[in-house]
């Protein structure tokens, strides 16, 4: 064989036609099915009062399930091994893995002076390692449970949990309007204010010390502030027919809607009620303002295009632009604490009110509720932006439902006596 031909033949074998990336189609696979992390919460041991351990465990399990982040394994499916301590080396992780747990929570509760204290440990089962070891303290077992749940959310997501917050809502029963405060899990209701006149639209001051309300004490809508520390209830501002007031994120201003001659406009004033100034000036109805988290913009509802739609404007009233173009009855915008989404209520083509979120940047609308009663409305964001609470009639009577922003997990948390409406999720505790 000719040596040159031999060499070329060898060369052809040694240098294959390597595929080039440009020859391949590129396919994007997005939108994975995000599923909750299976987690086992072993019953918390208690030194002293065993009820504290039981109650704390129950609250933690409930909060973690409500978060939508975790699939809390049924405690009937496992038995805590008394020989297991808190050191990772003493825990038989294979046993927890066998029941499907990917996370494990263990704690011991004890009283320390006036407080309940939990020695909390969180483990990653597959890796057999400890993710968190800390001490959590609270005045009561229920509050302790919420704080433990917040610590677990924090370790998995890096974000602050919202279970130590509260939700205010209006309850109407037998002609009485009540301002009611719930824990974030819908339990532990406390009536703060009871009125025979109409109460509407509670909104928290960012420091959590006051709740702004629309009251009909004077026979027409006015803004009133309820101070939680001493229960003082006082009128704010002098603009007639003012309603739907919301504090700016820095707590220095209040945006609201006021009606004059049948025309509603969006206004802003200082938090002491002075310096009221009209932001919109349009013959159409402009109402329901909601602040962006940075306080620079406002979302509001206007029917200037013929049907109620969501609009955005700068905090000085300039730069108005329409945000929603789908649906013909969009209302109650609520800007998410992260700033990227607005939740709102919309009536769809079947005349059903459902919840939606719209992306501020793209205007893309996603649905949260569907085929779950005839009315799902009044969304309010948890301060970490991970959950929404809203009013729903899915079970007949109005109740509060908590859901993730995609609506994949929805839990009715409060209902029963009276008609609950206008939930307002409070800020993080100071």
């Amino acid at each position: 064989m000719n040596p040159i031909a031999y060499a070329l033949a060898l060369l052809a074998l040694l240098v294959p036609a390597a595929p080039r990336g440009a020859d391949r189609p590129t396919l994007v696979i997005g939108s994975p099915a995000f599923q909750p992390l299976p987690i086992a919460v072993a019953g918390f041991g208690a030194e002293g009062d065993p009820r504290a351990g039981l109650e704390t465990t129950e609250v933690v399990r409930g909060d973690l399930a409500l978060s939508g982040l975790f699939d809390v394994l049924d405690p009937k499916g496992f038995l805590a091994d008394p020989a297991e301590g808190f050191a990772p080396s003493s825990i038989r992780f294979a046993r927890w893995s066998d029941i499907g747990a990917e996370g494990l929570v263990r704690a011991r509760v004890r009283r320390d002076g006036p407080d309940q204290v939990a020695e909390l440990h969180v483990y990653e089962v597959r890796a057999g390692r400890e993710l968190l070891s800390t001490t959590v303290r609270a005045p009561q077992a229920r509050a302790l449970g919420h704080r433990v749940a917040d610590a677990i959310v924090k370790v998995y997501t890096g974000e602050r949990g919202a279970f130590s917050t509260q939700i205010a809502a209006i309850r109407k029963a037998k002609g009485i309007f009540e301002l009611v405060l719930f824990d974030a899990d819908g339990r532990n209701p406390r009536v703060l204010l009871s009125e025979r006149s109409i109460l509407l639209a509670p909104a928290w001051r960012p420091d959590g010390r006051e709740i702004l309300l629309t009251s009909y004490r004077a026979g027409r809508p006015e803004l009133w502030a309820f101070r939680l520390a001493d229960r003082e209830f006082r009128r704010v501002g002098q603009v007639p027919n003012a309603m739907g007031g919301v504090y700016s994120p820095d707590g220095t201003r209040i945006a609201f809607a006021a009606t004059e001659g049948g025309n509603s406009e969006v206004w802003v004033m200082k938090v002491d009620g002075t310096g009221a100034r009209r932001l919109t000036n349009d013959p159409a109805l402009d109402l329901s303002p909601s602040w962006s988290p940075d306080g620079r913009r406002l979302a509001f509802v206007s029917d200037r295009a013929g049907s109620p739609q969501i609009y955005l404007m700068n905090a000085d009233g300039s730069g108005v632009r329409r945000l929603t173009f789908q649906g013909n009855y969009n209302q109650t915008p609520q800007w998410s604490p992260r700033g990227d989404l607005l939740a709102f209520t919309a009536r769809d083509e079947r005349k059903v009110f459902d919840l939606f979120v719209v992306a501020i940047d793209s205007g893309r609308i996603d649905r949260i509720t569907q085929d779950q009663g005839r009315t799902n409305e009044d969304p309010t964001w948890a301060p970490n932006g991970r959950l929404l609470a809203f009013r729903s009639d899915r079970s007949g009577a109005a109740q509060l439902v908590v859901a993730d922003p995609k609506g994949e997990r929805q839990t009715a948390v409060a209902g029963g006596a009276g008609d609950l409406s206008a939930p307002a999720w409070g800020p993080f505790p100071e």
Partner: protein, 249 residues
Amino acid sequence: MTASPVQSALSRRERIWPAVLASAAAHLVLVGWAVVRQPSPTIDLEQKPIVARLVRLGEKKPEQWLPRKEAPPPAPAAAPATPAPAPVAAAARAAPSTKGKAPPQPAAPASAAPGTGQSLSSILNKVRREAVAEKRYGDPGGAADGDSDQAAEDPYLAQIHRALRAHYVAPVTIPERERLYLEASVTLWIEPDGRITRWRQEKSSGNPTFDAAVERTLRLTTRVPAPPEPMRDALRRNGISLVFQARQS
């Protein structure tokens, strides 16, 4: 005198050595050239990615309508037993306003609650709602088993997309902000009968939890629909580039 066979063989070997050396040198030069010239990334990031969905056969949905979820709503969660509220007496301690006068008692606002007075119109509305709810929108050129109301660029890629999506599960504990930019790139080779023979990770997302979810997806997806004839050879030899994203697409 004639040369012995051994001497003859040795002389032939001596003659071939220069050719062998020249061949080896040429190999080295050409292999080196090929390695240098070979483009290092196997994925052309400039190439337009394809977002593929298998469009459902049906009438186009009006654009101004609000979106509907493709999946049915989640199972209703039972409402907890409502605890007894704190005594209203506590509310009575609310300090009266210094400015507010004794309020008149306006009539309660008209209840918006449905069901008060079942009328013919409400029944008709209900029937209309149900009729609209059952309508599934798609595209006149869609597939009977399509699952989207938007058309894909390539029907076969849409089928691959659907096969992978069936196993594409990630833990929800991945922070949402991270989801916006998490991406893992993979090359996948497909046999003419649709079997997935191998895959290779080209670029990690940087998040081990997300990478594990991608790996689990590929491990569980052992087969996709058989490729159409024109694509068979290319998919078997060159494969297909997959970009797994954690965000919605």
